[in-house]
Structure formats: structure tokens, C-alpha cells
Amino acid sequence: MSSLRRESQDEEEYWMKSRVNKSKFNLFDDNVTVENAEELAKSKKLLTQFEDDDVDTVNWDDTPVSSVTESSAISGHVVPPSASSLPKSASRPESRNVPPYMTHSRSQSESFGVTGRVSFTPSSLESVTPTVQYSKSQEKLHSLTSSSSARSLEDEIPSFISTSSGSKNLEEEIQYLKRALKKARELKFSPEDTIRKMILGEPYSLEVFRSKEEKLQLLDKAIQVHDGNAITAVILFLRQTIKPSLFNLELQRRPVAINHYLSYLRAHYDFKELGDVLGMLNRTEEAAILKYKQAISAPDVRGKMNALRGCLKAHFIHEPDLAHEANLVEQHAALLERQWPIEDTDSKSEAQGNPLFRQFPRKVSILNMPLITTLYYCCFYHGRDAENLLTSPFAIKKQHQLSDKQYVWTALSARSRLKQWTGIEELLTAKGWFGSTKKVSVIGFDKVCEILHRTSAPEEILSKYLRMIDGSERRLNIARKYKCHEVVVETLVYLRDRHELQVYASKLPPGSLGLRNAQDALRSSTIKWKT
């Protein structure tokens, strides 16, 4: 019994020392009673204040001598409870093989390091110590300290003070408990506190959160306060520490988190994972567009063509919702497949001194140009090519299902630039019934004139098409706009507006055809002028 008592004193002393020494015990222990909970909270507050200071003293190999002496002094204040009062909790004590924390210091903000803001005050510590109760880990101590044989208390104390090697076992215990306490200390970070620290830019650590629930609390708190940086940081921590199936499941429950994860992956150029996540989320359109974007970023045209075909097959054609997009990607690939050989042939032909290219030098390569530009190019350099050739404008129209308007507009611009007036006429001639022909323009003759004017067609040609504009008022306005005097005069005569004609004639340059016509008309007696 005496030995038992001694032993228990022994161990209590040890406990008090180590506790005071590290000023810490497991807060989350079951044995923390309601009465002392408040005190605990207080002490916790105090203890946290010097947390930073003694981080440095916690060490695997060194024995913190100074703290030992201090603790032995304090131990005198403690009233040791009887052994029977020790709680016999069934719960297992902390494992000794706790891996060191902060293994990956990713979230520990290196820039700041340790900030010792609050100084350690012994007086406040003393006031705390007597109220502190034992934790369940004491139980473990029985077995651990029993090996240290039944020495008297008197024997024990000096050995503690005098030398650090006095008791190997005890020292080990101290180290072990230090670690346990350190863990306990770290546990004081609630998810809320940690998120607050992250938002305020203070140092924090995510590694202390080990349970999935706590990690998710972190995430939810970060989402709740709308800080993208914290959200992303917690997501990456989660990804690192829980298995993918769990990670994906929890992510899918939180759309905000998903968005941040996707945003991170985009910024990190992690397209593989990005595509996978989008696929997992059934965001097929986004995934397809992503693949398309990757395909078109291929540096050379050949690679781009292959990538586009591959992407089309894998991500577009099997998606009913993407039928329209699939058609557009198909067109893109087809366009490159057309441009590639054209560029190849034409650049050679240009180098060999083909007169066509000498007369109208090519400014840039046709590769990667838009479809309409390609059409214009082909109308310009290869307007007469047979339909079975890649360069045929008509083949382009057919393959890309261009509307008549798109085709006529472009072909007209090219032919006008080339001054192929008969070509223009062909373009605007439609076969009517019974082999008759008539002039039609799907884009309207006003637009025809606009193109002719823009490509500086001669007045004679312009006038010809101006006359085809329906509606005399409209014709008059457009003719005035392009300063086509002949047509203006004609139209005014047609409108029998003598006054306007006089006004207009007065502005015409002397000797011009328009003026002559106007004067003739004004002199004419056959015209019945409007009154």
C-alpha cells in the first residue's frame, strides 16, 4: 500500500510537473467535468497566449531543464488527489506513435514564421494550475511509470533537478506527453478561428484538422464567409487528405466549392483533371468546349486538325445537346483541311512567280483565317476553278452550307475588286422560266451598289446597278449618296420634279454628263413636270 501510495504520489508529481511544464492537457477528454469546464476554458485562453513561446522548447532530444525546475516548484501547490479518485476511463490513451504534426507545412504561412505576440506571464500560470484536473492519460502513466521502480519521492526530486539523464523513462514520458499536449493545444483551433485567421492573413494550419467532419466544417465556414482564397485553400487540403471518391462526393454537394476547384484547375493549367471533374458533374458542354479550346491551341496546323477531329469524335458528336456545336467544330476542321493544301500550293506558285500573285501579292497566309476570308481569297485568286477543286468558291459554299447572301456578298466584293464586271453580271443573273434571264440580287441592289462603291467601281457600272434599285425615292437617295449624277437626274426626271432638278443641276460641275442631261431634260417640252 505504501509503495502504491508512493507510486501514485510519484506519478502525480510527475503529472503535475509535466502538466505545468507544458501547461497543457487534453481539453477534449471525456473526464473533464462540468465543474472545471469553465476553469478549463479560462486556462485554455491563458495557455494559448504563450503557445508560440514554448513551441521552440518542444524538442525530441533536449530536456527543457528550466521548465522542469519551474514545474517542480509549482508542484508544491498541488493537492494530490487520492488514487481512488482517479477516473478509470475505458477509453484508450493517445497512441504513442502519433506522427509529428506539421509534416506538410503548406498552409503554414512561411512568410510570417512564428509570431510571439503575447508574452508568457508566470503569475497567470500559477493562478491557473491548482484548478487543473487530471486527464484520462494519467491512467496510462501507471503502467509507464511503474518500470521506474519504487523509489522514494525524495530520491526522485533531486534527480529531476540535477540531471536530465536521471530517468530515461521519465524523460520519454515527458516527450510523449509534450507531444500529446501539443496536439491538444493545436486542437483549440476551431474551424471558425482558422477561417478567420485565413481571412485576416494570419498564420494558420490546416493539418490539425484530421476528421472529415472538421475539414468539411472548415469548408462550409469558408463558403459561408465568401472568401475565395480560404475556400480554395481548404479544397486543396481536402484533396490532399481524403480519398478521391469522398472528395468528389463532398465537392458535388457544394456548388460554390466546385466552382472554386474548377477555377483553380483552370489557373493551374490542370486540364486533365478539369475535364474529368466537368465530366463527373455531367457538364458535357463545358467539358467539350474545354477540349475544343485545348485542340485549337495546338501550335501547328496539322496538329490542330488532328486534335479537332479527335475532340469532335470524343466530345461532340455523341451529345445530342451539342449537335449545333458539333457541326461548327466539324466546319472548323474541314476549313483547316482545305486551307492547308491551298496554302501549300499557292505559296509555291507564288514563289515560282505566278503572274496572278505578282499582280496581286498575297498579304498573309490563308492558314487560320476565317471561313469568309477564305471564301474571299478563293473568289479572288481562284474564282474560275472547277467545283471539284479545293479552291473552288462554289465548293466552299456547298460544304459549309453558306447562304446565298453570304456567298454573293463575298463573291461580289472579290469580283468588283478584280474589276470583273461580266463576272458580276453572271453572279446577279438568274435563269427565269423558259430560258429567259433576269437580274436578281439576293442582297438587294442597294447593297450591290454599296459594295461597288466601296470597291471604287467606275461610275458607269455603278449607274447600271443603281438603275435596278426598286423604288424611285430610294434609288434617288442612294444615287445622291454615291454622287451618281446621271442616275439622280434620270430619277428626278422620272419623278417629274423640276424644282429639285433645277436645284441639283445648279450644283453640278460644268461640262459634266449629268449636267448636260439635266439641261436637256429641263429644256424638253415632252416632260410633264409635277406642279
Binding site: 481571412i199 492573413g201 475565395g228 456545336e325 471561313l371
Partner: protein, 618 residues
């Protein structure tokens, strides 16, 4: 409403001084000679804060523009990087450091993040193995005061990041800017949030501020109310062609961080001219808010009167008079003359560009889109621009407006316009259309009706639904389209003058409504159309009865009529245009408010669209 006695604008020079001090002390943390490597987009903002001579004085040896394509950099043995927190930037910096290490060159590195360091950036540094040899710090440069009433975060990427990618990283920066501002000007009593991001900023701001409710005398604070407004509430306004002088300057030449650069075609000289555009330039201050039709006339009359002042020199009698003229008058006159010449030159350029490009037809189409009339004609006009391969941005703007005003484009038209756009401007623009769809700017009317599609589609469909019928209903309820055509652009009586009387900017109208009603009460018929909802908080009441802040969801608030309540901070998330700033300035004059405009960036239709567009391959 009687015009109250106003104290005037809060003094934002203090923000500059604070930023300068902070930056100086950051430079001093690395004593001695050092090189400074600056992120390109921080050049101009930094220019507004610190001068080169200050940098030199603090030991900065050489200043480089950060170039992420460089694998290594030369320079002295100490280097500071001043950068935005981006992972790609971090990678490039790590490359620099590692290449120095490979040749055993010893150098000290410091990275200053503007405005804050991000976890992702630090992990890149760690991953690249350079964390040990750099020191990292933050330069909390948020607001750059561009003028006495304009504060900008100069963060154009907010739009893409928040609205397209739904990334909330920059919300913190916005909230922090408000916290810091209020540390100077005092807490703002009334907060009104319009939109999703606005509410988030308010929440985070409250989280950061820890308002101590008691013993606050709000009447002594400098700003009475804060209105936070999300850009996605009103995408229409920034897409309209700007017609005020300042707006046109931005659209034509591009105003960057309050400065403009006129090329030789404007200056009429060999070299180009850089001008600081703010209220210190008296001539500019006189014309900036005018409708363009009313600018050139004013400038030429100004030129005449300036000429008269010059001519005074002929009438100088004595040598003393002459000496006096040369010493005092001449310098001022010469300065004014060169400024005036630049503005007149700019006007000519603007006029030239606008008359050449068929601007009138374009504007007419734009206005009829806003009115919702002549749909077929408008589509034809857009198609014609596509046939012509006219400017791709200009065409896209009209397509956006068509969709926004019509609650999405009918499926057939949508497909046809999209196809033709891609055929005319490159298939790469497929990505642009996808982005615009996610943003809800160009949508297919079909999207809303697809039931049973995956979650995200439903969500984007919902967005389309809420925006559906939005614009025309809002126009009606807020009478955004003035009925009479005869608006006097010279002496305007209505905010719509900024768009030639064709349209009142929705964002500004909402601001007006919130202020005149003192909240959102009675606005349910309007707010139900606004995506993201509204929220208001009143902290003033709480201070009176010494209790915790009462969140006032109903929006009822006892409005004070002390002068401070007339100072209103309007904060645009996702950027605002010069036209909106001008409209608010006008509203302020009309109703006796003092508006301070804060924004994540100043944008125009082009910069807004470009930020979400796929770049052409060539």
C-alpha cells in the same frame, strides 16, 4: 428636394498617402540597392501612388516590367517583385530564382503581392522549391483615387473571375477596400446591396469590421450611404455606345488609370502626348460630362476667347505690363492652348471615326434594340455587318444587346447568327459564345425550357429565365426609355441625355430609386427582376438605441437629412463605364447628392467583351 449644404467630397488624397507610406516601408524592408520588377498591370496604378524619384530614393536601382516569358533575369543582388497574385507569375518567378541558383548567383528575393497573397501562389512557390529563399509580403493597394469622386481597384479581371468562373477570390479585396476606406472616413450608416456579389461583399465586410454598435455618431462620418451594385444586374448599359465626351475618349483612345495617350494624329506634332484626365484640368472638367454634340462648339468658343487673351499682348503699353504678361499670363495661356489643341484634335478624330464607320445606322439599330422595335430589321442589320466582316466587337455588341433586350434569342436566329459570326470571324469564337452563354449575356431562348437536364443547365436556364422578360419590364416600370424625343442635350433634365435621350442607364436609375425611397420598400415589382436579389442594412438606427446592428430586411430606414446622408458611395462590382459615372454626377447635381463612385475597374463595351472573348489565332 432642396439642395442641402454640402461639405463636399471626402478627401481621397489620404488614401494615396497611406498607400505611398505602406509601399515605402515595404521597400525599406530590403535595405540597400535593389531592382524592382513590376507586373505590367500595376505600372499605371503605382504611377499614381509613387514617383520614380521616390523609388530611387529608396534604393531602387533599376525598374523592370515583369515578363513571364523570360526564364531568367539580370540585375543586382537584391530584387523585389511587385505582382498580382497569380500562379503563372509565381512559376515565372520561381524559374528566375532557379536559374540564378543553377549558376550559383546569390541574390535576395522578395515578392510583394498586390493586394494580398493567395494560398495557391504560395503553394506554387513551395512546389517549385523556392519558398525558402524568398520573403513574401503584401501591399494592400486597393483603391486608386482617379479623381475627386472616382475610386478604382484597377482590377478588370473581377468581371471574368466572379461572373464567369464564379470565383469569389476578389470579393475579399472589395470588402477590404471598404473596410480600409471606412477606417478613414468613418463607418457608413446605410448599406444597400443590389445583386449577389454585393451581398457577399457586405457579409464579408461585416465579418472583417466587427462593428461596435454603440456610441457611433454617424453624422460626423464622411459618407452617409453605400450602394453596392453587381454588374450582372445591368449588362445592357455598358454595351451601349457611349456618347459623352469622356466616354467617347475611352472608347476611341482608351483611358488607362485616368491617363490618356494621344498619338500624333491628335496632337498634330511628331510626338504623342500623355494627359492626366481629371478635374484639375479645367477645360476637360468643363466638357467631360457633356453630350458629344455639345463639345466641339464649346471648345471652339474657348479657343476664341483664348486667342483674345493672347491678343492682349498687342495692347500692352509699358515694358512692365509686358514683363508681367510674360511672367504670369503667357505660361498659363500656353498650357491651356496645348491642352485645348489636344482636346480639339481628339474631337476631330472621334468625329472622323464615327462618320466613316456607318455609326448612325449602328446607333439607330442600337436604339431600336433598346426600344424592342423592328426586330427583323435589327437582325438583318447584324447579318449585314457579318457579311461585310465588319469589326467583330461591334457586331458582337449588337448580338449581346439583342439577346439581353429580348430575353434571349429565338433558337433559329441564335443558331444562324452564331454560325455566321463564327464563319466571318473564326470558329474559335465558339468559346466566346460559350462564355457569353454562361454569363447570361447571349442566350438561346430554348435553354430555359429544357427540363430534366443536368444541374448546371438548370441553373443557367434559371438565370436565363430570370433575365427573361427582364429588360423590357424594367424599362416599363422604371421608364428607362423616355417617351419624348425632344430632350435638350445642351441643358439636360434627365440622366438619359448620356445616351442621346434614348435610354436611361438602368444601374443609375436603380441608384436613384434606392435613394429617393430610402431603401427597397415599394420596389418589389422591380427588384424581383434583378438577379441576385437585394438587401439593405441600417446601422444608424442601432447607434441611436445602443443595441446591436439591426438588420433591416424590409429596407425601411429612418433617413436623416443631415448633410452626411447626401454623400453616397456607389460601388460597382465588375466595373462601370464613364457614361454611368457621368449620369450619376448629373443625378447628384439634380437631386443634391454627392456621389463618389467606386468600381473594380472602369470598363467600356470593348474591354468588357474582350475580357471574356477567345482571342483570334492570328
Amino acid at each position: 428636394m432642396a439642395a442641402p449644404s454640402v461639405k463636399g467630397f471626402p478627401d481621397f488624397q489620404r488614401l494615396k498617402i497611406l498607400a505611398k507610406d505602406e509601399f515605402t516601408s515595404l521597400l525599406d524592408q530590403m535595405p540597400g540597392r535593389k531592382d524592382l520588377v513590376i507586373d505590367g498591370e500595376l505600372m499605371k496604378p503605382l504611377d499614381r501612388i509613387a514617383s520614380v524619384s521616390l523609388l530611387k530614393q529608396r534604393g531602387v536601382d533599376k525598374i523592370f516590367k515583369f515578363d513571364s516569358s523570360l526564364k531568367s533575369m539580370h540585375g543586382c543582388e537584391q530584387r523585389i517583385y511587385l505582382v498580382r497574385p497569380r500562379m503563372t507569375t509565381m512559376k515565372a518567378i520561381a524559374d528566375h530564382i532557379n536559374s540564378d541558383r543553377n549558376i550559383n548567383f546569390k541574390r535576395k528575393y522578395s515578392i510583394i503581392f498586390v493586394p494580398r497573397k493567395l494560398h495557391t501562389c504560395l503553394s506554387v512557390l513551395e512546389y517549385e522549391g523556392v519558398m525558402g529563399c524568398v520573403t513574401v509580403s503584401e501591399f494592400q493597394l486597393d483603391f486608386v483615387p482617379l479623381d475627386k469622386d472616382v475610386l478604382s481597384l484597377e482590377l478588370p479581371e473581377f468581371l471574368k473571375s466572379f461572373y464567369l468562373e464564379n470565383d469569389q477570390t476578389w470579393i475579399h479585396t472589395v470588402a477590404k477596400s471598404l473596410v480600409r476606406l471606412q477606417a478613414l472616413s468613418g463607418e457608413i450608416g446605410h448599406v444597400y446591396c443590389i445583386g449577389r456579389g454585393a451581398k457577399m461583399v457586405n457579409d464579408l465586410m461585416n465579418f472583417l469590421m466587427k462593428r461596435n454598435s454603440s456610441e457611433q455618431d454617424f453624422s460626423r462620418h464622411e459618407i452617409g450611404s453605400l450602394i453596392l451594385i453587381d454588374r450582372d444586374v445591368d449588362y445592357v448599359t455598358p454595351l451601349c455606345s457611349q456618347l459623352t465626351y469622356e466616354g467617347l475618349l475611352d472608347e476611341t483612345f482608351g483611358i488607362k488609370c485616368g491617363t490618356i495617350e494621344f498619338g500624333p494624329e491628335v496632337t498634330g506634332k511628331q510626338q504623342s502626348a500623355k494627359l492626366l484626365l481629371n478635374s484639375d484640368d479645367a477645360i476637360f472638367e468643363d466638357v467631360r460630362n457633356r453630350h458629344f454634340s455639345n463639345v466641339l462648339g464649346y471648345l471652339s468658343s474657348k479657343a476664341k476667347s483664348l486667342q483674345q487673351d493672347f491678343d492682349k499682348r498687342h495692347g500692352l503699353k509699358s515694358v512692365g505690363d509686358m514683363k508681367d504678361f510674360v511672367a504670369n499670363e503667357l505660361r498659363r495661356l500656353k498650357e491651356q492652348k496645348s491642352v485645348l489643341a489636344n482636346h480639339i484634335g481628339a474631337c476631330e478624330q472621334i468625329l472622323g471615326k464615327k462618320t466613316k464607320g456607318g455609326f448612325e445606322d449602328y446607333l439607330q439599330t442600337e436604339h431600336s434594340l433598346l426600344e424592342g422595335s423592328g426586330l427583323r430589321d435589327n437582325v438583318n442589320f447584324i447579318e449585314e455587318l457579318l457579311f461585310k466582316q465588319d469589326n467583330m466587337l461591334k457586331t458582337l455588341k449588337l448580338i449581346c444587346l439583342l439577346s439581353l433586350t429580348q430575353n434571349g434569342i429565338s433558337p433559329q436566329t441564335y443558331k444562324s447568327l452564331k454560325t455566321q459570326y463564327l464563319q466571318s470571324h473564326g470558329f474559335e469564337q465558339l468559346v466566346t459564345f460559350s462564355n457569353l452563354k454562361s454569363l447570361g449575356i447571349v442566350t438561346d431562348q430554348e435553354t430555359g425550357s429544357q427540363a430534366g437536364t443536368p444541374l448546371n443547365k438548370v441553373a443557367s436556364g434559371m438565370a436565363a429565365m430570370t433575365r427573361r422578360s427582364t429588360f423590357q419590364s424594367l424599362c416599363k416600370k422604371l421608364s428607362l426609355i423616355p417617351k419624348s424625343d425632344d430632350i435638350d442635350l445642351k441643358n439636360p433634365t434627365d440622366m438619359s441625355y448620356v445616351f442621346s435621350g434614348a435610354y436611361t442607364p438602368l444601374s443609375c436609375k436603380l441608384v436613384e430609386q434606392v435613394l429617393t425611397r430610402g431603401g427597397f420598400t415599394g420596389m418589389e415589382e422591380i427588384t424581383k427582376y434583378l438577379p441576385g436579389g437585394v438587401h439593405s442594412e441600417n446601422h444608424v438606427k442601432a447607434s441611436k438605441d445602443h443595441s446591436t446592428p439591426v438588420k433591416d430586411k424590409s429596407g425601411k430606414s429612418a433617413r436623416q437629412d443631415r448633410p452626411v446622408s447626401k454623400v453616397v458611395l456607389v460601388y460597382f462590382l465588375g466595373g462601370c463605364t464613364y457614361s454611368e459615372i457621368t449620369a450619376l454626377r448629373f443625378l447628384g447635381k439634380l437631386k443634391g447628392y454627392i456621389f463618389v463612385i467606386a468600381t473594380t475597374a472602369i470598363i467600356n463595351s470593348s474591354t468588357m467583351l474582350e475580357s471574356v472573348m477567345e482571342k483570334p489565332p492570328i
